[in-house]
């Protein structure tokens, strides 16, 4: 019995991870893996609550969140693209930094316990808001851009074989930065949506692993934005099932929660990364030739 309400709430609860995963897809297509996505979302979530509380306008809050994501992405541009620091390390560092900064600032501003604050929320219509609708449009738009535009072709070349992109006269650095900035926009928006779109508040470490879920979803969705979105909805659905299945099913509900990751692993076992995964993903070596 899928009433509209349950569909709308599924869309709402899946949106943060979906947004982050779609942004991460663009980043990974360019050959970079942004392990710092978790921290990026957290920064977006905190900034959005601050902006929303300060101005009383949730949309300004969203802007703050997106701004935080983009600021985060600019650091990524410097560290990952120009200094070619190991991506796993830099990402881990950024996650810690963001966790520390947001928690510290939050406690400094709202007190040790972080008493419940409630920020103005985004208004919605029939359970759906502009961001959800925008997400669907953006996913298709990005898919088109990546698959059909000149920028997308060059971006994919960066992820597959950067030397080829460079030889054709593209700046691998600029292309990767553009992807990182898009990833930052989405990551920040994802965090903002989590805090002021759903929770209406901020809590320390409120992303609780969603950034890593998003990274996992990119693999599950085989580096295609529509599939990644579908994967995010599937995860959201599996999570919503756990409550209805608790106690009624002979299969433990944890199995359903683990299922998407198990499927992603099975795909990796049986087809590997295939021809779909960006060949140079995570590679920091200066390309040869």
């Amino acid at each position: 019995m899928a009433t509209w309400d349950s569909v709308a709430s599924l869309l709402r609860y899946s949106s943060p991870v979906a947004l982050a995963a779609v942004g991460e897809t663009v980043v990974e297509v360019s050959g970079i893996i942004n392990i710092g996505l978790e921290g990026m979302m957290l920064a977006g979530a905190y900034a959005a609550v601050v902006g929303s509380l300060q101005t009383g306008n949730p949309w300004i809050g969203v802007l703050y969140g997106v701004g935080a994501g983009i600021a985060f992405a600019l650091v990524n541009c410097l560290v990952l693209v120009y200094l070619r620091v190991d991506q796993v390390l830099a990402g881990t560092a950024m996650n810690l930094l963001s966790l520390g900064l947001t928690s510290t600032l939050f406690r400094a501003r709202f007190g040790q316990s972080g008493q419940l604050i409630s920020a103005p929320e985004i208004s919605r219509f029939a359970g759906v808001d502009v961001i959800i609708i925008g997400l669907a449009v953006l996913v298709l738009g990005l898919h088109f851009l990546i698959r059909r535009s000149g920028w997308g072709l060059a971006l994919r070349a960066c992820g597959e074989y950067p030397s080829a992109a460079r030889a054709s006269g593209y700046s691998v650095e600029m292309l990767r930065c553009s992807a990182l900035l898009i990833g930052g926009l989405f990551g920040g928006l994802a965090g903002a949506y989590l805090s002021i779109g759903i929770a209406g508040s901020f809590a320390e470490n409120m992303t609780s692993g969603r950034g890593f879920v998003a990274i996992a979803l990119v693999t599950f969705g085989r580096w295609r934005t529509p599939w990644v979105l579908a994967a995010a909805l599937l995860i959201g659905y599996a999570e919503s099932l756990q409550y209805s299945l608790q106690g009624t099913s002979s299969i433990p509900y944890q199995f359903f929660l683990a299922l998407p990751y198990l499927i992603a692993l099975a795909v990796l076992v049986f087809v590997g990364k295939g021809a779909i995964a960006p060949e140079s993903l995570g590679n920091t070596e200066l390309e040869v030739g």
Partner: protein, 338 residues
């Protein structure tokens, strides 16, 4: 030595910077942190108790990363290790064996559980030429569901009231030095592991091969080494150490596991290993350093509401600064010299 100096300077600079940013009085803050970490026997205990999991899991990261296997599944391996250990403990208790021997059997199963989980991640990754990054992230999620299932299902305590395992009898816990203090004899195991890892990586043939595979896969291949097998070995050792960390927390401190048993030790081990220069002894120093920060920073709450969360800022900034300096140095090095 030069590295040690650079690291120390970077760390001190970051700490001061963080205090400055958050407008905390510099000298009293440092004093309080040091006091909280080393001021009395309670402080020293706090520091060492935090150092144990950081160092043990950090050693795991050192070995894997040295082999070029970016294991970020320390968290999952920690969890699977402790779940396997809890299962073993339940089995032993039902057999009526609750002595020290049972305790070491449990610890061994923790190591084995972590090692097998990491080896699984390695097997999935390396046979297809993938980096273990994505695979270990995926397996971290699977592990947390396994833990959730275990503590709500087959391994739940007898009254089935809370998602925790049965508390171990005192006879199965690792010995404490002083009943008032949390410090347990697991610290000997951790120190032994550190020394063993140092000898293994820098004084044995296999250790050399592992470092070679990480530093230059091409050279390793042309020397006829089996890259996949060596990386798998490194992963298994790495996971074993993370599992050991889980086991030490289980048998040394809590005596039971629950859904939030691991306090991110598996993730925090990464900066510890990196700032330790990816050597086991260096890792010991950096684990001690971060352990003392963890223990000491609680005192900082006196100056600001924040306190203990500042440590993440310091860790993040320090790692970032450290890897940026490294990246610059690498650039300035003449090509071909690795």
């Amino acid at each position: 030595m030069k590295r040690f100096l650079i690291t120390s300077v970077v760390l001190l600079a970051t700490i001061s910077l963080v205090f400055a940013i958050f407008q905390m009085p510099m000298w009293p803050s440092l004093q309080l942190t040091a006091q909280g970490a080393f001021g009395d026997r309670f402080g020293i205990t706090r520091t060492l108790v935090k150092t144990i999991p950081l160092l043990t899991a950090g050693l795991g990261m050192v070995i894997a990363w040295r082999a070029g296997a970016y294991n970020i599944g320390g968290e999952g391996q920690f969890i699977i290790g402790s779940v396997a250990g809890a299962w073993m403990a339940k089995t032993m208790m039902s057999l009526g064996s609750v002595g020290a021997a049972a305790s070491y059997a449990v610890l061994a199963v923790c190591v084995l559980g972590g090692a097998m989980y990491a080896a699984l991640a390695g097997w999935i990754s390396f046979r297809r030429g993938l980096s273990p990054v994505i695979v270990t992230i995926l397996l971290n999620f699977v592990a947390s569901q396994v833990l959730d299932y275990a503590v709500r299902g087959p391994l739940q305590e007898d009254t089935h009231a809370v998602p925790l395992t049965q508390t171990l009898p005192q006879s199965m816990m690792l010995a404490r030095f002083d009943p008032q203090l949390d410090l347990h004899s697991g610290i000997y195991i951790t120190i032994a592991a550190m020394l063993a890892a140092q000898v293994f990586l820098f004084r044995t043939r296999k250790g050399f091969q592992i470092r070679l595979v990480g530093a230059s896969p091409q050279a390793a291949r042309s020397a006829g080494l089996n890259e996949v097998r060596l990386k798998l070995l490194a992963m298994a050792l790495s996971g074993g150490l993370c599992g050991l960390a889980g086991g030490l927390e289980y048998l040394g401190l809590a005596g039971q596991i629950g859904v939030s048993s691991s306090q991110n030790w598996g993730f925090l081990a990464i900066p510890v290993a990196v700032l330790g220069g990816l050597t086991p002894l260096g890792c010991g120093l950096s684990a001690l350093f971060f352990g003392s920060l963890f223990a000491g920073s609680q005192q900082l709450a006196r100056f600001s509401n924040s306190g203990s969360t500042l440590i993440y800022v310091m860790q993040g900034l320090a790692v970032l600064a450290f890897v940026m300096i490294e990246a610059r140095n690498k650039r300035l090095e003449p090509a071909g010299e690795v």
